[in-house]
């Protein structure tokens, strides 16, 4: 299994509070991704990174920011959490950006915003 960990695995927070989710990899893969998974919507890309300090927006980036200061860590921050951001968040990594390249997923973080 690809070495990907996410922390925390579960979090309950209140509306308006900042939240940071961490993704850590031991595979030295260049590309890292953050997705959210919601019933009826499947997985949707929030942000991705193609190198240290190189990031870009995904399909549903509003209300989220990311940072990557080291190859192995990719942080997702909700500056002011809202109830609509209650979701399961998955981090993924890949060696290449080529279409068809395999993405390896972490175990997910379940976030509840009250």
């Amino acid at each position: 299994d690809a070495g990907i960990t996410q922390s925390p695995r579960h979090k309950v927070t209140e509306t308006g509070t900042p939240v940071t989710l961490r993704c850590h990899q031991t595979e030295n893969h260049r590309y890292m991704y953050w997705y959210r998974q919601d019933p009826g919507h499947g997985l949707r890309l929030i942000h991705y990174s193609y190198g240290v300090k190189d990031t870009d927006k995904g399909e549903v980036s509003d209300g989220y920011s990311v940072s990557r200061s080291k190859t192995e860590d990719f942080l997702l921050t909700l500056e002011s959490a809202t109830s609509s951001q209650t979701s399961v968040y998955f981090c993924a990594i890949s060696e290449s950006w080529v279409a068809g390249n395999e993405q390896f997923f972490g175990p997910g973080t379940r976030l509840t915003v009250l």
Binding site: I4, Y33, Y35, G40, H41, G42, L43, R44, L45, Y48, D56, G58, E59, F90, A92, W97, A99, G100, E102, Q103, F104, F105, G106, P107, G108
Partner: protein
Amino acid sequence: TQLLEQSPQFLSIQEGENLTVYCNSSSVFSSLQWYRQEPGEGPVLLVTVVTGGEVKKLKRLTFQFGDARKDSSLHITAAQPGDTGLYLCAVRSNTGNQFYFGTGTSLTVIP
């Protein structure tokens, strides 16, 4: 509007039955992937198809990419309880740096 439409959304069958799930789009893609996700875990890649009309087999699973590279199907022969999970198709956008997943087919195989 979903780029990838999967059907059926839910499927519950008895062990030993055959089934087919579909992934459809109006767009053309250079490749398409199928992932399986078990409860409480992240998706795991099953296969990548890249050529129109391509058929790939993975034990009892048969994957086909449509001739026009707009759709794909996954056929499972003699389903087993271990096949239970959420089946997702995924593509990379042709026009930008985006990855898209379908909404998934949730399969339950009853022993």
